[in-house]
Each structure stands twice: as structure tokens, then as C-alpha cells.
């Protein structure tokens, strides 16, 4: 041992006289910079659990986890990001990509604990000292990793639109569709909101990957009406789109349309599934609308013998008879229907199923093909009764919609110049010209009212929409309202119909529409305000035609009384279970007659679920037969 070895430890004591190298109270003495990327914060109310942070994290430091007190709702997965500080590198990509801007970082950087588990935490849920810190990193104003702006859809200009019934939305080009598809973060929040639970991120991905056929096949997994829904779907998915929180929602409907448009009809059969081996069971379906044909499609895929009975000369239901061609061209609807027929589904047009008939027997049901029957002769004789279908088929599904327009119910409504909105749309579909003349008043604020008004504009009429509530209360799609205005439809809101008079000078050629101004009475949250007539503010306007379009009801007259009680009818609606099952095991129902959403995509979803329900029922019946 040298002398140095003996003296060296003593030299350490020299350090005691020096200033410390470490910071004794770093939080106060050396705070993080104002925009330091410190510990994470999350606004739990703003966060929707889209998981985009998890997807972008390069270190796999983020997991989406359930959190007590956060429920899954429409537009919120109910999950929240949990961050593992054993992996996090504080790059802040998660903050930059956050679709709701809920995720931020404090400028705190010191956290001492002996338990390593605590460093995996859920910001915002697990209380931390830095939760209310004002300083730290957040996405700067205007800085976006995501493109907040939707690719504009080319449309015909309003003055051009009014010259014909040509489709006004022209569709994306391949470049536009890809650009729009690139905006999707594939969070899947939209899937839960879609009544049919379509794999939206999946088919949008196929656009990016140039796999149109794959996209079409994916859409057909849950929706056999892609060309139609790609045009007129109520797109509930877009309302909850994660991008909608800080920008325009992804144009999901238009991307669906792009895929359907890009796939040629002749290729459809090759792309979509083929039916499973034939089964002997027969299923009757009443109504060739989106609900009925969806059930038909999925049942046929499962191998069942499916016959659809339709009262009208063509299929599509309200998609055809309630939506004008400028929104949904008939050839596009036919493209969807033809694929269903091509699988071997038999559709008997002009076959209105009736209530009880004398001599109900087991003879074959009647009906004609569209080509054999006159174009406007629904309900031709020879169609089977409900009883007969019940006897002749192994299961029955009905989805007959809401075909009967309600009237205004006011005095003078039997005036010859009053024509319902639905009948105008039906006439135009049937190739007839409704007798509208020049000035038209449309009463109502739903999509039928908008479609009737815009149809009338295309026929050269001056159109005024009168609605009892405010514009913000209108149930019509916002874009329909905007487009109606662009096309020159005049709006009078808070206008309550009082009566219709026949002015002597008009000689029955015009109707005097008497309406009163409404004051709105608040009904509390989540309820539309009540319009109350102000009897001292009454107006009278002369119109060539008054068009009520206030709502439609079901027509369940075909259900015989002895079966109705078993099936279950409540307030003119059919009571159904999750798979469309009614109180009568062999009978299933769906669409507008049973659901509350009353749109095509909900009817499609009902049809799909009912197909599964019918399949289970028939398989169970079969196995019972085999074991007995």
C-alpha cells in the first residue's frame, strides 16, 4: 500500500467545503420551460377514447383502458389512454395527433416513487399534482398533423341542377378519394354509430391501398346497398367521426360511394360472396325495401329459398319512391337490387300481401315480374294473404315501412289543390308529372318536405316551405336544407297551419292557406320546443298547390287479427327483439315499422339481424325435428 492510498480518502473531505453539484429543490429552482414536454394531462370530458395516441406512439407506451365512471356512448369508446413512463420518450406525437386536443403535457418532470407500477397511469383519471398546471406542451394553434379539411365534393351548380333531375353530386375522382381517405385515423368510433356496424376504417383503407374489390366485399359483409347508401345514407358515422372534433368529419358516405362506383356491376358477383349450399327451408319476405332485401340477401347467402313480395312495380321501397333521382339515380339503386336478385332471390312485384282472405289455401303465391305488370298497378290480384304465407313458408319477415302520409288534419284539407309530398315523389318516380302549377307551399321540415320542394323547383314552381318550429329544429338533413335554399326555396319558419280555404275568386284553382305565427315554448333539455299559435298573428296566402309533408304512418292492415296479438303491435309499431323476432316464433319484422331511427341504414341493419335470427330459428327447428 502506498502513501497515496492512505491519504486519498481524506481528500474527499475537501468536497464538503464545495457547492453541491445537484439541484436541491429542482421544482422551484429549475422549473421546466413553459412549453416543456413533461408529464401528460388528459381532459377526460373532451377525450373520446379514439386511440389515435396509442396508434401513433412509436414506443408502444400507450394502451387504451376502461376507466371507472366513463361510459361507452355514441361517439365515445369509453376507454382512456394509459401511459407507461417506462417506455415513453416524451416525443409528444400523441399530443400532436390527438383528435380532440384533450391530451396535453405539463412542464413537470420530477416524480419520485418507490413503486414502479405507479409510473403506468391514466392521465386525468389518476389524480396528479400537475393536473391543473397551466404550463407545458400542447399543440400550437393552427398546427395539425391531421388534415382538418374535407376534400370538396364536386356538385352541379344550383341553376344547372334546376334544369333536370340529373344527379347533383358528381363523385370523387381517384385522386380526391385517396386524399380524403388519407385523413382517416382508423379509430373505428364510427363503426359503433353505424346501425349496420360497417367496417368503415377497413373499406376506407382499401381506397388508400388501391383495393376497390376488397372494399366492396367488405361493405357487403354488413350492407348490400353500398351504391344507394353511398349517396343517401343519413351518415350517423360522420357525426361521431373523431376528426369532427377539430375539423371536418371524414366524408365516409362519399368514400363508400366511390368504392361502389368504381366496381363495375358486371364484377359485383365475382367480388361478393356466393350462396352456401341450398337449404330446403323457404322464407317469405314482405316488402322489397332496404330492410326486406337485406334480409333476403343474407338469408340467400345462407342457402335459404327466399321469395320477396312487393306491392310496387319496382324494388327499393322509399329509396325509390321517396327519394328523387337527383339524389339517388334509379340505375344505382337497381345495381344494388340486381345483385340481390342475381343470387337467386325471387322478387314478386305488384304483389301486395293482404289481410285475411276467404279460401286461404296452400296454392302457390301469385304476382308478376316488373315487365309483365303495368307500371302503376300495385296490389294486383293473385298476391297471397299473410295467412297463406304463414302456412306455406318456414319463416316470414316483413318490413313494409311507413307508406301512408299523415294529413295536416285541418279544415279545408280536402281542397282539390292539396297534394301530399309522398304522392308527388311517387308520381315523379313512376314517370308521371304531378299537377303542381306555379306557386307551391310545402308544409313540413323533414327530408320528404325538402325533396318535394326541390322536386317542385325542378318542375319550374316557386316554392315556399312552411314549418311550425325554427330552422334549427328541422329534422331534415342539414345539407338538404342548405341545398333547398341554394335552389331558391323560400322558408317560413314558426308557421302553424290553421285551415285551407277556397277563395271565390280562385274558383277552386288555388288554395288559400291560412297560417299563424308561432311562439316557441321551451320544453327543457333534449326536447324540441313547442310551437304555440298566436291567434292575433294570422296570415293568408294563396297557392296553386299545398303540399303536406309532416310525417308518415305504417299500414299494418295485412296482419290478421288472430296473429296480431301474438306478433305484438304497440301504437302502430311492431314490437321486436334484437334479431327482429316478434311474439310469434315464425314471424320476424324490421325497418321503419319497428325501429325508431327510420332510415335506410337502420332498415338494412334490421334486415341483416333478422336474417341471423331466422337462421337460428330454422336451424333450431330442424334440430328439434331430427331429435324428435
Amino acid at each position: 500500500m502506498s502513501l497515496k492510498d492512505i491519504l486519498s480518502p481524506l481528500t474527499v473531505w475537501r468536497r464538503t467545503a464545495e457547492k453541491p453539484y445537484t439541484v436541491i429543490d429542482p421544482i422551484n429552482d429549475r422549473p421546466g420551460a413553459a412549453r416543456y414536454r413533461g408529464f401528460h394531462k388528459n381532459d377526460m370530458e373532451a377525450c373520446i377514447g379514439c386511440g389515435t395516441c396509442e396508434t401513433i406512439c412509436q414506443n408502444a407506451a400507450i394502451d387504451l383502458v376502461p376507466v371507472e365512471g366513463i361510459e361507452t356512448t355514441n361517439g365515445d369508446s369509453g376507454l382512456r389512454p394509459q401511459i407507461d413512463y417506462g417506455r415513453c420518450c416524451w416525443c409528444a406525437l400523441c399530443v400532436d395527433i390527438c383528435t380532440t386536443s384533450s391530451l396535453t403535457m405539463s412542464n413537470e418532470y420530477i416524480w419520485v416513487d418507490t413503486d414502479p407500477e405507479v409510473f403506468r397511469f391514466v392521465p386525468g383519471a389518476d389524480e396528479k399534482p400537475w393536473d391543473n398546471s397551466e404550463l407545458g406542451y400542447s399543440r400550437a394553434e393552427g398546427y395539425q398533423l391531421l388534415d382538418p379539411e374535407r376534400v370538396e365534393m364536386p356538385e352541379l351548380q344550383p341553376d344547372t341542377r334546376l334544369t333536370s333531375f340529373i344527379e347533383m353530386v358528381q363523385g370523387y375522382s381517384a385522386e380526391e378519394a385517396k386524399r380524403e381517405a388519407d385523413r382517416c385515423v382508423e379509430c373505428g368510433i364510427c363503426m359503433a354509430a353505424c346501425p349496420a356496424h360497417m367496417d368503415i376504417p377497413g373499406y376506407i383503407r382499401t381506397i388508400r391501398e388501391n383495393d376497390i374489390n376488397g372494399g366492396l366485399a367488405l361493405m357487403y359483409e354488413t350492407n348490400p346497398f353500398p351504391a344507394s347508401c353511398g349517396r343517401v345514407c343519413t351518415h350517423r358515422c360522420e357525426e361521431v367521426c373523431a376528426i369532427n372534433h377539430t375539423g371536418d368529419p371524414i366524408a365516409i358516405r362519399w368514400l363508400k360511394r366511390y368504392i361502389a362506383d368504381m366496381a363495375d356491376e358486371s364484377d359485383y358477383r365475382a367480388i361478393t360472396k356466393t350462396a352456401e349450399p341450398e337449404r330446403s327451408e323457404k322464407v317469405a319476405i314482405i316488402g322489397a325495401g332496404p330492410g326486406g332485401l337485406s334480409a333476403a340477401y343474407y338469408l340467400r347467402l345462407l342457402g335459404y329459398q327466399v321469395t320477396v313480395f312487393e306491392a310496387q312495380p319496382h324494388g327499393g321501397g322509399m329509396l325509390r319512391y321517396g327519394i328523387p333521382e337527383y339524389r339517388l339515380p334509379y340505375d344505382q339503386l337497381d345495381k344494388d337490387i340486381d345483385l340481390v336478385s342475381s343470387l337467386g332471390v325471387e322478387i314478386k312485384y305488384n304483389s301486395r300481401v293482404d289481410g285475411p282472405k276467404e279460401n286461404d289455401g296452400p296454392e302457390a303465391p301469385g304476382g308478376t315480374s316488373p315487365d309483365e305488370a303495368p307500371a302503376d298497378s300495385p296490389g294486383a290480384s293473385g298476391a297471397p294473404s299473410f295467412h297463406q304465407l304463414y302456412k306455406d313458408y318456414d319463416a316470414v319477415f316483413f318490413s313494409t315501412g311507413l307508406p301512408d302520409p299523415y294529413t295536416l288534419g285541418i279544415q279545408g284539407e280536402d281542397h282539390p289543390r292539396v297534394i301530399s309530398g309522398i304522392s308527388i315523389l311517387e308520381d315523379v318516380t313512376a314517370g308521371k308529372t304531378p299537377d303542381l302549377r306555379k306557386s307551391v307551399a310545402v308544409v313540413g321540415g323533414g327530408n320528404v318536405a325538402m325533396d318535394a320542394a326541390r322536386t317542385a323547383r325542378r318542375m319550374g314552381c316557386e316554392v315556399t316551405i312552411l314549418y311550425r318550429r325554427r330552422e334549427v329544429d328541422m329534422p331534415a338533413d342539414e345539407e338538404e336544407i342548405t341545398e333547398a335554399k341554394e335552389e331558391g326555396v323560400k322558408f317560413i319558419t314558426q308557421a302553424i297551419p290553421v285551415r285551407i280555404e277556397d277563395k271565390p275568386e280562385a274558383k277552386g284553382e288555388q288554395a288559400a292557406f291560412v297560417w299563424g305565427e308561432a311562439k316557441m315554448v321551451d320544453q327543457g333539455e333534449d326536447r324540441r320546443p313547442k310551437p304555440v299559435l298566436q291567434e292575433d298573428k294570422i296570415h293568408t296566402d294563396l297557392f296553386d298547390t299545398v303540399v303536406p309533408a309532416i310525417g308518415q304512418g305504417s299500414s299494418l292492415d295485412f296482419i290478421p287479427e288472430d296473429m296480431a296479438e301474438k306478433i305484438g303491435i304497440i301504437k302502430y309499431k311492431i314490437k321486436v327483439g334484437l334479431h327482429g323476432e316478434t311474439g310469434e316464433p315464425k314471424i320476424f319484422a324490421g325497418g321503419d315499422i319497428s325501429n325508431r331511427l327510420k332510415d335506410a341504414i337502420s332498415a338494412i341493419a334490421d334486415g341483416h339481424r333478422a336474417a341471423k335470427g331466422i337462421d337460428s330459428y330454422l336451424r333450431e327447428s330442424q334440430s328439434k325435428k331430427e331429435t324428435s
Binding site: 289481410g355 301512408d404 299523415y406 294529413t407 288534419g409 285541418i410 279544415q411 284539407e413 308544409v443 313540413g444 321540415g445 323533414g446 327530408n447 320528404v448 318536405a449 314549418y467 311550425r468 318550429r469 329534422p475 331534415a476 302553424i496 297551419p497 290553421v498 285551415r499 315554448v521 313547442k530 304555440v532 299559435l533 309533408a549 309532416i550 310525417g551 304512418g553 305504417s554 299494418l556 292492415d557 296482419i559 290478421p560 287479427e561 296473429m563 296480431a564 296479438e565 303491435i569 304497440i570 301504437k571 302502430y572
Partner: protein
Amino acid sequence: MPDTQYSEIIDFALKREKEAVQFYTELEHIAQFASQKELLGEIKGMEQGHVKILENLKTKSPEAIRVERVPNFMASTYLVEAQPAKDMNYQDILIIAMKREDRSHALYEELLQQTENPELRKTFEMLAGEESKHKRFFEDLYDKYVQPDN
């Protein structure tokens, strides 16, 4: 107020409610379709409920009755009376129901105006309030299901 008077008023109201039950029973017979019968049966059940409420009131003293009023939004005022028919639809049935409740409400309001007796007034007010609540119930159904787009 002498008890007999109170009792007579309740008996009068009871008679009207029983008539309503009878009316909807007859409508059920007129109706042709199951959907009509189901709705009429439901309304009849409600009227039977009103009969029970009034029967219970008979056992209470007039002081114990509670008056509940709902605002009149006049939603059915300008609707044309629908006629009972075998092919009546949901709208027709609701209009029939609203108009009946409206007439009962008007009757009790009229009786209310014709008396100064505070206890009688309270009884008529209660009955008018009940009828306006029933009317409102049907008006809400009408608003929600018959004219959702208006």
C-alpha cells in the same frame, strides 16, 4: 261545501269517464284491424285508470284534492274532428281522443266559471286540470308520431 255536492261532482265526472270507456269499447268493435284495436284498447285502459282515480277521490275529503294544471298549447284546437270509422288510422284515433279530452276540459272550465264557491271551484279546477293533462298526453303522442316532420 256540503259533502253531497262534492260527491255529486265526482259522480258526474265518473259518469263521463265511464262513458269514455264505453265509447272506446264501441270503437274497438267498429275498428277493422288489429293495430287499431291495440291502440284503442290502450286508450280504453287509460280511461279505466281515470275511473279508478275518481273512485278513490270519492273517499277523500275535498280539502285533500290536489290541483295540477298544464298549459294549453292549443295543438289540437285547429284539428278537424275525426269520425269513428272502420278504417281510421293512428292519426284519426289520436284526434278523436284529443278532441274528447278537449271537450271535457272545456266543460269543467265552464262549470268553474259558473261557481263562486271556493271548494267547488277547486274540484272543478282539479277535474279540468286532469282533462288537460290527458289531452296533453295525446297531443305529445300526436306531435311525436304523427307529425315528426312538422
